[in-house]
Amino acid sequence: METTPTFWEGPVGWTLLTAGQIGLVMIWILLSLAFLLLADRKIWAGVQMRKGPNVVGAFGLLQSFADFLKFVLKEIVVPSGADKVVFLLAPLISFVLAFGAWAVIPLAPGWVVSDLNVGVLYLFAISSLGVYGIIMGGWASNSKYPFLGSLRSAAQMVSYEVSIGFVIITVILLAGTMNLRIIVELQQGWFWNWNVLGGGGLANLPIALVMIPMSVIFLISALAETNRPPFDLPEAESELVAGYQVEYSSTPYLLFMIGEYANIVLMCAMITVLFFGGWNPGFPTGFMDSWPDFFRSLFGFLVFFGKVIFFFFLFAMAKAIVPRYRYDQLMRLGWKVFLPTSLVAVALVAAWRVFGPAA
């Protein structure tokens, strides 16, 4: 039976609906970033037995908003020797890419902007583009320190992308699909269905011996990919002042910073979705069957967000307690430790899929 398409299924309605969804996701990320940034500084301060920002608002809760106003109201300084267009394009690219990747992250049952069947590849593609913002910013500044910082960062991000790629392949092999929604749905039920423990029930538990190290490698590579301490060589302030962002001020700098933090939260979300069950709480959720759809989704969303916050906490703790790597050690770790390990893991997981009980 032919049904006439409603307004929301027509081209105009579809565009409006998608734009609305994108807007919602962006507002949610920006709002949570404001508080995650504060949490980052508070955790860092707590480890060092300081108080951290505590003046603006109760417990300093409004600190991020004060910082935002400060950045926006300052004057944009463009160095006279800079390539103006590229200089201003670089932070925009960082910002747009960091948010674009969120389009395929399944936030809760039914809550995803774009249910791509190559979602994992899309994420990988977008995060491999992130390096452009940094290279362009460093080059366009026409100054030595930013250029050195951006070269370091390009080498670092390209190196760790390789091991991230292989780790993602192990998950794809386990799940048998590149659609993030299906990857999450396969991990429902008890927590031993999570990919970190092999996925697919107790029969697959032995492969957890491979998947647990893979999730650790992913976490460490994510630290390197987002230029977080202990791998913040691109902006090693004791050597390069502030790396690629030396010449940036006010709003362009703000865009770089928001992009960087959005990427960090994105990496946390990727770990959650790929390894730790996404919106699944780790126990059967049959008791929710009578709930309305909205509340089920809301519950899933809260579970997902809680996991993301947990991984963000790990990132913040790593920043507070781990000293910075030396550059040659960083390269050695990426190419000589993570790359062979993850390659072997891909072979092992593939063999498990072919010869193991799941075959």
Binding site: N117, S128, A154
Partner: protein, 205 residues
């Protein structure tokens, strides 16, 4: 409707950025235009329903190859005047290559227009369903019918990689190298010595 607008937009961006790759004065700008061209070409792939190819184009060309291009071009000290001079000399060769490429593409699109796309020839064989994603369809063909070509391509890449390593690997004699094992295995016991010194006296090594 949206698809038509998107097609013309992305096709126009591809063409304009392709033109700018050649005409930009600054080589770094050329590479940036090239990246834009790759990116909008990926968009065109998506419009055709080949999202797997589109993502691969972005991952491989934009994410890896173009980064290396950008890296090299930024480090080079290019003499723009010398580059300009060669332009007229290389023009005929460039035009010839362009003509060949155009002819090939016309032939391919003619073949597709008359015989139908390869997708239609492959998918029914795969499993007849239309819900096969194109990643799956490519995989089914690549690892069955064309597996030897696939292996051969992998071998060519391996040879190229080994060649690159052989060309750049140099062992200079007499250079003290870092031995990571020794560094990692150092402990406070083996790595340092605690000495009691009297004030005013030095320590002989």
């Amino acid at each position: 409707m949206i698809q038509i607008i998107a097609f013309y937009l992305m096709a126009a961006v591809t063409l304009v950025s392709g033109f700018c790759v050649v005409s930009a004065r600054n080589p770094v700008h050329s590479v940036l235009w090239l990246i834009l061209a790759f990116f909008s070409a990926a968009g065109l792939f998506v419009l055709m329903g080949a999202e797997f190819l589109a993502m691969l184009l972005v991952v491989v060309y934009v994410g890896a190859v173009a980064v290396l291009f950008l890296f090299v071009v930024m480090m080079l000290d290019v003499d723009f005047a010398a580059l300009r001079q060669g332009f007229a000399r290389y023009m005929p060769v460039g035009l010839l290559i362009a003509a060949f490429l155009a002819a090939e593409m016309i032939l391919v699109s003619y073949a597709v227009a008359t015989n139908g796309a390869a997708k239609d020839a492959v998918l029914p064989v795969a499993n007849g369903g239309s819900d096969v994603t194109n990643a799956e369809a490519i995989g089914r063909v690549l690892y069955t019918d064309y597996v030897y070509f696939f292996q051969a391509a992998g071998l060519v890449l391996l040879v190229a990689m080994i060649g690159a390593i052989v060309l750049t690997l140099r062992h200079k004699p007499g250079v003290r190298r870092q031995v990571i094992m020794d560094q990692v295995l150092r402990s406070p016991k083996t790595g340092m010595r605690i000495v009691q010194l009297k004030p005013g006296e030095g320590m002989d090594q």
